[in-house]
Symmetry: C2
Subunit: 293 residues, 2 copies
């Protein structure tokens, strides 16, 4: 009687492909013009996009059925940490049904009446300011911080000062009626953030090429090494691994692991099901397609 | 001629213990009362603590010799991402010479004239608001976001509204003359953030028990597995592993890895030196003591 793996095999076997998204509603955290809003627009171009205040509000909206999907940043983001989002996925027992690696490109956005030479102060999220530090230093700008790059655009529009500009996306500049005075401000031209799509229902589309898992391991020599040997034996490529200590439990670690593969391969499903039986804490988070833009 | 490993062996062999910190100057990012300020105070109780605007400003201050050490959050922080700090460590060729796992405890801080029943709005960093969402929802508070928990305290002090409170540390409340109206607001009682101490000079003290490495691996099946086998063979316990894609290079990943151990053990130094010869990109980041408070 291997109930865990039988249940998981059934869940995977019953997963339908992701439906056409035309009438879907997608939740995101932040305000219009935020990077999450832009990512949601690219992932769900024909859908109603609904803003929420916090990450957890996005989960609540999906749980209540107000929205079908939630779009959340999980890497290299100005909005929060990866582990906060993964914690919520586990708590709400949601699945990952899509992902997007989106290039983040910052412009300098001022009032329509401003010229580049007028600007003396720039406002943005501290991490965005940090990513554009070479640019702001070179120009001798004074920097002010606020909670979000889109909020920076909104503040700039409200303040109506000719010498103030926001560091934000072009979409945020347009959204708040600002003029882009300069482009591509970030020091690192390969500035991408990873967004995932969460859902109450597990959808697995044909061509899904990435699997996400979460599991805990005791802090014993080699536990992770032996775990990875199981993937190596099947020739599976890991594309992400991240550990963090389990709250309140010494010597126990939680791992987030992504690999290239599909549950359409019997070997992959077999491995996942076996691990779910063997390990005290193990979650299959989804099998989806990762896009890059 | 194995020049890389010889150079590294010499650097490690010449490392002195961390000096007494009494006259040291320590840089941190943010304003007084920020979590980084509190961590810097615990790590350097007798030192001058100097605030800087951005993570990179902290590195610049240490590079110019304005400060001897920098204190920066690297995990579960409201201030920014781990990878931003690690990128800077590699770029500036600094070392990690200490670490602190600090419990983050939030209070509700209002004006001295306010009572708990007066509060209708709370202000804080979005991630702090998220961590206290159970509390704010239960009390029906309207939430406002700002760039930092200490900034929230400062704003609350400046706004002088009886119905506004900040979610911040007790230290921030004290710093800005606010009264703590309620305590331990966070949903997760084990809310800790990891801070590291960076330095231009490699110091290794007796009793240093943690080693940090950074290296890149090609995206080939099993590359990480075989790498971890080298640690497993020596019985070394990994305490952290994190991967991320290398900017602009497909199929190449950067790994941050911590393990319990000391370069006082010849096996550990031998392994580190061999890896530095074998791998195209490999950095020994330090061997230090991690404290918990």
């Amino acid at each position: 009687m291997k109930t865990k793996s039988n249940a998981l095999r059934e869940i995977i076997g019953n997963a339908r492909p992701l439906p056409e998204a035309s009438r879907a509603r997608a939740a995101y955290q932040g305000i219009k013009g935020a990077n999450s809003h832009e990512a949601a627009g690219r992932l769900f171009p024909e859908s109603l996009l609904v803003p929420y205040k916090t990450f957890e509000d996005v989960f609540k909206a999906v749980e209540r059925g107000e929205c079908d999907y939630g779009v959340l940043p999980v890497e290299n983001s100005t909005a929060g940490s990866v582990s906060a989002v993964y914690d919520l996925i586990l708590r709400y027992r949601f699945y990952i049904v899509g992902a997007l690696d989106m290039k983040i490109d910052y412009c300098l956005a001022g009032l329509r009446q401003s010229e580049l030479g007028d600007i003396e102060k720039v406002i943005s999220h501290p991490q965005a300011l940090s990513q554009c530090e070479g640019y702001t230093t070179k120009n001798g700008y004074e920097t002010l911080s606020c909670s979000n790059t889109a909020v920076a655009a909104l503040e700039t529009a409200r303040e109506k000062r000719l010498n103030l500009a926001a560091i934000c996306s072009r979409r945020a500049a347009e959204e708040y009626g600002l003029k882009a005075l300069d482009y591509h401000l970030q020091d690192n031209p390969y500035n991408t953030t990873r967004f995932i799509v969460i859902s109450r229902t597990l959808y697995i589309s044909d061509g899904a090429n990435k699997v996400s898992l979460c599991f805990s391991l005791p802090h014993v020599t080699g536990a992770l090494f032996h775990m990875l040997g199981r993937f190596d034996a099947l020739g599976l490529n890991l594309t992400k691994i991240e550990s963090r200590p389990v709250s309140g439990k010494d010597f126990e670690y939680l791992f987030y692991l992504d690999f290239s593969g599909s549950v359409g391969s019997e070997g992959v499903t077999e491995l996942i099901c076996r691990l779910s039986d063997e390990m005290p804490e193990f979650s299959f988070l989804g099998n989806y397609t990762e896009r890059e833009e």
